[in-house]
Each structure stands twice: as structure tokens, then as C-alpha cells.
């Protein structure tokens, strides 16, 4: 590994440590880590800690999912929701809220709907010679539009669905250690699969002919990576709703700094995504404290200008 890459990883790990520390300490009520009072302890363990850890995990999951999908679909506009995960998840969530299911059941139904959407999109794009990425993207967009329309129709016809905004804008306010544990397991599985196949993903970028001639079983590698990316995003959506921007932009920011090699890009995107979402969540709960802004608004407001700045800088270089 070259010195620059090592330095980048060192900075990313440091950044994550600082963001986590800030996330733990600051909030509507500042918590002094050396204060042993019961209130501080309760806020820290019951509210702050799971929320910050979940934000870090979801940030990593969405960023890795985005990086993988941008590579597999060879489409820089791909984000974790491109295959219909978000609209599927949202429809599942809204329907289960409509029939009055408890929160954990809402999450499970949302997850199942998210994965079903991906399966439908995936089956549309399968041909005898394998998956066609361009059909996959178009089928994803079409299904998302259809489900989006269904979602609006359901929300429009019901006046008891305030909770749906939680899904549409994303929030960490329902975080718990159970969510953290589930997210940690899924993140470990999904990110490991992505890293294991990252070398093959690099070769896939060269195109089908070259990848096959270099010994890559393209069908299997694509399917494994699509499964990992979908799993990561479906679990995120079912727990915290739709947080836009992170999965699209974080991999691009990392790519501008360390290049397109997925062996480095995937773990680096995970680290930066984790820090980014911890900070975004911190801002969402402190800017209008004691109120709370949807975290998706923060990710767009902070991320977009920074990304444009990086793009301009790269162009001038």
C-alpha cells in the first residue's frame, strides 16, 4: 500500500473516532463522560449510545452499498435505492402502519418488501446470457415510480399515517441496542462479501469479455455483490427509513481522493460514510434543539456543497 493510501486510511479512522466521540458527548443535553450521575448514565446508555452507533453502521452500510452498485451497474448515478429498495421498504412500512403493527413488525415487513422489490427487478433483467445492468437500472426506476405512486395514494387516502414521514426522510430517533446488534451483523456480512469480491468487481468494470477472459465467473460475482448491496440497503431502510445522498456521494468523494480501485474504495467508503452520518445525525438533533431535523436534509445540505467543491478542485488540478 502506498504512503498516500495509508495516510488516507489513518485520517478516515481518526475522523470516525472523533465523530463518534462528538456524537456521544453532544446533543440536546451535553453528556460529560466523567459524570457518573444516573441521568447522564441513562441518557448515554439508553439513548445516545445506540443512536450514534446505529448512525455509524447505517452510514457504512449505505456507502458500501452505493460503492458496490455503482461498480456492478457501471453507473455513477447508482445509489443504494436504485433497485427499488427504498420504495419497496416504504410501501411495506406504510401498509404495516396502516394495519397498526408494532414498530419491530413494521421493520420486518419493510425489510421483506424491500428485498422483494429487488428480487422483482432482478428477475426482469435476467437473460440467458446473464444479468443486463442497463435493464436492471431501468427496471429499478420503473418499479420505484410505480411503488412511489402507490405510496402517495395510500398516504393521501389516510389521515392516520404521520409516522410515514419517518420513513420518507429518515430518522435515528427509534434507535435501540437491538437495532445496533442486527445492523452490526448485517454490516459485517454485507461489507465482508463486498470486500471479498472487490478485486473481481475491479475486473468487471473492464466489461464482460475481458472479465471472463481474466477468469471471473461474472454471473456469480454480480449476483453475490447485488445481494450484499441489497441486503445492506434493505436493512438500513427498514430501521431508519430513507436517508438519501450518503450512498450516492460518499463513494464519489472517496474515488476523487484515492481513485477507483474497489479494494480500497469499499472499506474507505464505509469509514467515511460512518463518520458522515454520525456528524449529520449530531447536527440533526442539535441545530434546532430540543426539536429535530430529518437527517436526510442535513446529509444533502452538508454533502452537496462539499462534493461540488471537490469536483471543482479536481477539475482545476
Amino acid at each position: 500500500m502506498r504512503t498516500k493510501t495509508l495516510l488516507v486510511f489513518f485520517v478516515l479512522v481518526f475522523l470516525l473516532a472523533v465523530s463518534l466521540a462528538a456524537g456521544f458527548v453532544f446533543g440536546a443535553v451535553a453528556v460529560n463522560p466523567f459524570d457518573a450521575s444516573r441521568v447522564s448514565e441513562m441518557i448515554f446508555w439508553n439513548i445516545r449510545c445506540p443512536r450514534v452507533l446505529l448512525a455509524a453502521l447505517v452510514g457504512a452500510m449505505l456507502s458500501v452499498s452505493g460503492a458496490v452498485l455503482q461498480g456492478v451497474l457501471k453507473n455513477p448515478l447508482s445509489d443504494p435505492y436504485i433497485l427499488g429498495v427504498s420504495s419497496g421498504g416504504a410501501v411495506g412500512a406504510v401498509l404495516s402502519m396502516l394495519i397498526g403493527l408494532p414498530l419491530y413488525a413494521v421493520c420486518i415487513v419493510s425489510f421483506l418488501f424491500a428485498l422483494t422489490s429487488v428480487a422483482v427487478v432482478y428477475s426482469f433483467s435476467r437473460t440467458s446470457s446473464g444479468i443486463r445492468p442497463e435493464v436492471l437500472v431501468l427496471a429499478g426506476v420503473a418499479l420505484s415510480s410505480l411503488l412511489g405512486a402507490a405510496l402517495v395514494a395510500v398516504v393521501y387516502s389516510s389521515d392516520s399515517l404521520q409516522g410515514v414521514y419517518f420513513w420518507l426522510f429518515g430518522s435515528f430517533s427509534f434507535s435501540s441496542f437491538l437495532f445496533v446488534k442486527i445492523a452490526a451483523v448485517i454490516a459485517a456480512v454485507g461489507i465482508s462479501v463486498s470486500i471479498v469480491f472487490s478485486k473481481q468487481l475491479n475486473i468487471l468494470l473492464l466489461g464482460e469479455e475481458e472479465a471472463v477472459s481474466l477468469g471471473v465467473n461474472t454471473g456469480f460475482v454480480r449476483a453475490a455483490l447485488l445481494f450484499a448491496a441489497s441486503l445492506l440497503s434493505a436493512v438500513s431502510v427498514s430501521m431508519v427509513g430513507i436517508i438519501g445522498f450518503v450512498g450516492l456521494i460518499i463513494p464519489h468523494i472517496v474515488r476523487l481522493v484515492i481513485g477507483g480501485n474497489n479494494i480500497l474504495l469499499i472499506p474507505a467508503s464505509g469509514l467515511l460514510g460512518a463518520s458522515f452520518l454520525v456528524i449529520a445525525d449530531l447536527l440533526s438533533r442539535t441545530l434546532i434543539s430540543p426539536g429535530e431535523l430529518p437527517v436526510g436534509i442535513i446529509t444533502a445540505f452538508v454533502g452537496a456543497p462539499f462534493f461540488i467543491f471537490l469536483l471543482r478542485k479536481k477539475k482545476n488540478d
Binding site: 440467458s128 478485486k199 473481481q200 475491479n202 475486473i203 468494470l205 473492464l206 466489461g207 464482460e208 469479455e209 475481458e210 471472463v212 477472459s213 481474466l214 477468469g215 471471473v216 465467473n217 474515488r255 481513485g259 477507483g260 480501485n261
Partner: protein, 238 residues
């Protein structure tokens, strides 16, 4: 002794339609074979069928005596390497990173990898560009990167699909010289369009038309004006 490649009565194409019909061909180490013929003649389809990118409807391909149908993608890639037309290179990858992809078929991470990569870089004279991003090098230089990648793959057979298509005359000659220098240790089979380059550098020409072999033999025998006129249907244009 078994030939490096032996194709027997091969029929293959897209969907249910066969583009190449009844192709039989064999070749061995030390040969530089050029596939020539008009567009749609089946040259690239033949390469794709040998690479395993197309469904073979009948016939067989044997690589060093082994039936290619029964080989895994990985095992096949230890015997066959492929050099495509120069396309737009991937941004964000260095010359060395692209060449290192040639080691994928082998169990990577060993010292043999580093030696193979170093040797390939040296052979095509890319030492000074080793860490350069491939999007910043010329088409001719990228073609050398692709040749180096195929060398790092350490296969006996190299397949090429119009490797000089988008290059100017200087790089065309340079590419052909590099390939010619490699043929002593390999079998090189390539699709070409430039008859003059084929005359100067190849040993053997396989002329293809309408999915069939129209002629197969030494350059001087096959590239006669009469055969060229007939296969390329030049008189109908005049």
C-alpha cells in the same frame, strides 16, 4: 503431440441463429495466425465462442487436448488470454493495477505475481508509466498495457480482437512488432482488418466469409489478389 488449440466442426452464434458454421481449425505454439475477412464474416464470433462468451450449438474446442466445455472459467483463463480493441481506459487505475488483473486466474498474493508483473512491464517497456493513471496515457500505450496484462496472465494462447483498430500507423507497427516478438513462446490468434500489416507480421492467414473458412494457409498463399477480391467482394464495388 496435442495442439494448443483444436476446433472441431464448431457452430455458434447469438440466440438460436448460428453465425459461424462448421469451423475446424488447429494451431500450435510459435504461430501468429491472422483472422481476416469482411465485416460480419464471423471472425469476432469465433473468438467469442472460443473464449466461452457464446453458447456453442455443436462442435468442440480443445485447449491442449482438454475439452473447453468442461473447463471452468478460471481454468480456461489459465490457458487463454484476450486483448480487446483499445477502448476508453478505466479512470482511477494505475498501469500496474490494470496489469496485475492478469494475475487473477492464478492464486494471487505470492511472489510469483510480483515477478510476473515486473517481467511483463519490462517486456513492453512501460517502466516509466508504472504508477500513471491509465486515463492519462495514449491509446498506443494503453494497448501495451493490455498486452502486458495478457503476458502477466502467463497463458500459452493469446487471442486478439482488432488490437490495432483505433491506433495510428506508428502504434500499429509497434503493437504488431511486440506481438511478433512474443510468438516464439506462444500461439497468437488475432482478428485484423489491415491486410498490409498481416502480410508483414503474421505467419498464417485464415480468411473467413459468411461464417465459414474460405481459405487457410501461409500468408503468401492466401493473400492472393484473386482470393482477396473474391472474399471481400471488391469487384462489385468497382
Amino acid at each position: 503431440m496435442t495442439e494448443l488449440i483444436k476446433i472441431e466442426k464448431l457452430c455458434a452464434g447469438y440466440g438460436r441463429q448460428d453465425i459461424i458454421k462448421d469451423i475446424s481449425l488447429s494451431a500450435d505454439k510459435g504461430e501468429f495466425v491472422a483472422l481476416l475477412g469482411p465485416n460480419g464474416g464471423g471472425k469476432t464470433t469465433l473468438l467469442r465462442a472460443v473464449l466461452g462468451l457464446l453458447k456453442i450449438s455443436s462442435g468442440s474446442v480443445f485447449l491442449s487436448g482438454e475439452d473447453a466445455k468442461k473447463m471452468t472459467t478460471k481454468n480456461k483463463s489459465k490457458k487463454l488470454s484476450f486483448i480487446p480493441q483499445v477502448s476508453s481506459p478505466l479512470e482511477g487505475f494505475s498501469v500496474e493495477e490494470i496489469i496485475a488483473m492478469g494475475r487473477n486466474p492464478h492464486d494471487t498474493g505470492s511472489e510469483a505475481d510480483l515477478i510476473a508483473i515486473d517481467r511483463s512491464i519490462e517486456k513492453v517497456n512501460l517502466k516509466n508509466l508504472r504508477n500513471t493513471d491509465v486515463s492519462r496515457i495514449s491509446g498506443g500505450e494503453y494497448q501495451r498495457v493490455l498486452i502486458a496484462r495478457a503476458l502477466a496472465q502467463e497463458t500459452d494462447i493469446m487471442l486478439l480482437d482488432e488490437p490495432t483498430a483505433h491506433l495510428d500507423i506508428k502504434y500499429r507497427i509497434e503493437t504488431m512488432r511486440t506481438l511478433r516478438a512474443l510468438k516464439a513462446e506462444k500461439l497468437i490468434i488475432g482478428v485484423f482488418h489491415d491486410i498490409d500489416l498481416v502480410k508483414d507480421f503474421a505467419d498464417r492467414v485464415v480468411l473467413m466469409k459468411s461464417g465459414k473458412i474460405a481459405a487457410d494457409g501461409e500468408v503468401s498463399q492466401v493473400l492472393s489478389p484473386v482470393l482477396i477480391n473474391e472474399v471481400f467482394d471488391i469487384t462489385s464495388v468497382a
